[in-house]
């Protein structure tokens, strides 16, 4: 996916400082052409700073950014005209919707007829043709964000830089917008860099993911891989891997943690070597009956927390503390209360192993 031949944007030895402190330090990062790269990470991890650097609005203390192998800052205006951007705020100008969508083309000196045709096309693609003559101030949040995205596509950019463009939109509107965006981006195929803190968004839209923590790249992989197979404890905690247990490999494909024996199909590590064993809370099944397949152990319910469509249960087994997300209907069928015993089941394929040094 990320071979040098299809790298579109390249970051090398990048350092961005604020108040003398490195807020972003990236040794090497290649962003693949024509794919959606999602940048994920906790607040303050440098996601938006990276995007601002790619937009050439932040000046790095050190390092190079290249587009098709050419330094991006050699001619910033020319470089920016190969790209476009949309943010959490729609950032429309005080003019009609049509004029807003035409604006990037107007700045590039495109003639009136071509501008109009392009704007009409992208307004139609985003399903907002009827808004063309409306003033930008008269739009709802969802409509304004559609206009903002239509404007970003209007100049047919090679690179699309997006900073949480769906975050400020209410849930039902957001769903439709993401669906339309996914379809459009898969047709137009610009090299897209999407900053998001939303797991579903990253999984649905991302072909490739970069995880930043503390201004550094901690993992690059397919989004599902990062969420299911984090590279270290910090990544595991960020991606919501609620169960991270310290253990050791005891035999082939088998580990011991907190007095519990756990099998995993993950790549094996050296016998006796320490490891972090990780399971997502939704991958733990609670039941009353045993099944020969998988890892099973008895655990006592310590706390119950309703969380919308799931119930988050905290349990203890031997010296192991675990968190399980159980669908509400299943939880009611189980009829568990605090102090009750249940059987926790984990499929070996769901137990991720992170090798750690002693």
């Amino acid at each position: 996916m990320n071979s040098p031949s299809d790298t579109h944007l390249q970051v090398r030895d990048l350092i961005i400082q604020r108040g003398g402190v490195n807020v972003l330090k990236i040794d090497a990062l290649d962003l693949p052409r024509g794919l959606v790269t999602v940048i994920i990470g906790p607040n303050g991890s440098g996601k938006s700073t990276l995007l601002a650097a790619l937009q050439l609005v932040l000046h790095p203390s050190r390092g190079t950014l290249t587009l098709d192998g050419q330094p991006m800052d050699a001619d910033p205006v020319k470089t920016r005209r190969r790209m476009s951007a949309a943010f959490q705020e729609p950032l429309l100008l005080s003019m009609s919707v049509q004029a807003n969508v035409e604006l990037p083309l107007r700045l590039r000196g495109v003639d009136r007829q071509a501008r109009r045709e392009s704007a009409e096309h992208w307004l139609e693609r985003f399903g907002i043709t009827e808004l063309a003559r409306r003033h930008a101030r008269q739009l709802s949040g969802g409509e304004a964000q559609r206009v903002s995205l239509a404007r970003a596509f209007a100049s047919q950019p090679e690179v699309l830089l997006l900073d949480e463009p769906f975050a400020g939109v209410d849930a039902p509107t957001r769903e439709g917008l993401i669906e339309d965006f996914a379809e459009i981006v898969s047709e137009a195929r610009p090299t897209t860099v999407l900053v998001t803190h939303d797991r579903d968004e990253a999984l649905r839209l991302g072909d490739y993911a970069v995880l930043l923590i503390g201004g550094r790249v901690r993992q690059t992989a397919a989004p599902a891989d990062i969420f299911e197979r984090p590279a270290d404890r910090a990544v595991a905690e960020f991606v919501g891997m609620e169960n991270v247990w310290e253990g050791r490999r005891s035999e082939s494909g088998v580990y011991r943690a907190g007095g519990v024996r756990l099998a995993s199909t993950a790549r094996s590590i050296a016998l006796g070597a320490p490891a972090l064993l990780c399971v997502r809370p939704e991958r733990i099944t609670l039941t009353h009956t045993t099944d020969s397949a998988g890892n099973e152990f008895r655990a006592v319910v310590r706390a119950i927390r309703p969380r919308g469509p799931v119930v988050r249960a905290e349990l203890t087994s031997s010296r192991l503390e675990l968190t399980a997300d159980v669908p509400v209907t299943v939880w009611h069928d189980l009829g568990l209360t605090i102090g009750d015993e249940a059987i926790a089941r984990i499929a070996p394929a769901d137990l991720h192993v992170i090798e750690v040094s002693d």
Partner: protein, 232 residues
Amino acid sequence: MELIWDGIREAARLWWAGDAEIIEITLRTLAISSAATAIALLIGIPLGAVLALRRFWGRGLIVAAVNTGMGMPPVVVGLIVALILWRTGPLGDLNLIYTPTAMVVAQLLLSLPLVVGFSLASIQSVNPRLIGQMWAMGANRLQVLWLLIRETRLGLLAAVMAGFGAAISEVGASMQVGGNLAGETRVLTTATVLETGRGNFEVAIALSLVLVVLAFLVNLVLTGVQQRRFVS
């Protein structure tokens, strides 16, 4: 009371008759104040934009100077310009004292701080992320300035009105550097002062009414532009 009514009646008669001197003074007033305002806008808006968008050493000092300039007494400005343009002054060789050009310079110095101050305030009120979006859309420096002017046109029109208002209404500086010479540098304000001093109240009232109506019409047009909804 009769004095006032007589004055207003005479003023109406002078208007109706199309008094050549009043027309000439009115046109000169418009020409001088418009020129001063236009130059103030050409310098003031970009300067306001730079002060609003850039951080550099001495910026605070310049902003403080601009704010002081916004309340500068016209007679002080007149005195400074007169000293500079006086025949023995630093620019005396240009022979500009008691010319319309000297009046444009004085009015420019009075309206410039207002234009800079209003531009600075309106451009500073623009969401910085919107300016980031302008760059991201591929705008160059001039295009960003154009978009900023467009975006802050309400505030900038207030700058135009304030600048023009300051220029057309001042009297002290025009008197000091123009000399109120008949047929050369006499404008509505200086003529009004002269006629009042002479006791020709009907002429003074006529001139004052022209001044007020002129200021009103200019502001009416600008307000119309300012409040018009932008559709295209």
